[in-house]
Assembly symmetry: C2
Homo-oligomer: 95 residues x 2
C-alpha cells in the first residue's frame, strides 16, 4: 500500500477555480483501478492550503494515475493557479 | 471530523530516536477517547520526513490530546531531534 500526501498553495484569487478542478480530479480518480482513497482537504485557518491524501494499492496503480487523461489534463491547469510547486510526499506506513 | 497532517524533518543522526518516540506516541494516542486514526508514515525517498496523519472526532478531542501527559512529555523531546519546526495543518474535508 502506498500513501501520498500532496500539499499545494492556491493563489488567493484562484481558489474557486482550484476547488472546481480539484472536485473533478477527485471524482475521476476515485473511479480508477487501484485507488483505495483520494480525498481533498482544506486548512481551516489557511484556506489557500489544499492537501490531497491518497492511498494506492501499488506503485503501478499510482503510475497509471499519473499517466491518466484527467491527471495530464488537470494538473498543468492547477499548477498555473498555484503560488508555487506542490509538495508531494510518497509514504510508507511506519506505525 | 477533524483531520490533521503533521510533517516533520528529523535531524539525520536522530532518526532512530525519533522513530522510537513516534512509536510510543502512536501507541498511546490511538487509545485516546475521540481518536479515530493516528498513523505515522515515512517518505520513501527522504527518510528524514515523517508525516503523521490524524483523524479526531472533534476539536475537543484534539485539544485533550494536546493536553495529554504523553503529548506534553514526548513532543518537546521530538522537537529537539528535528531540523526545524513541524508543519501542522488542521483540515476539513472538501471532497
Amino acid at each position: 500500500m502506498i500513501k501520498v500526501v500532496a500539499k499545494s498553495f492556491s493563489k488567493p484569487d484562484k481558489l474557486d477555480e482550484i476547488l472546481k478542478l480539484t472536485a473533478e480530479m477527485v471524482e475521476k480518480t476515485v473511479k480508477e483501478e487501484g485507488c483505495i482513497k483520494y480525498e481533498a482537504f482544506q486548512d481551516i485557518r489557511a484556506p489557500e492550503v489544499i492537501i490531497i491524501i491518497e492511498e494506492w494499492e501499488s506503485q503501478e496503480a499510482l503510475n497509471r494515475h499519473m499517466a491518466s487523461e484527467h491527471f495530464r489534463r488537470i494538473v498543468p491547469k492547477l499548477n498555473e493557479l498555484r503560488q508555487k510547486a506542490s509538495e508531494v510526499n510518497v509514504l510508507k506506513k511506519l506505525f
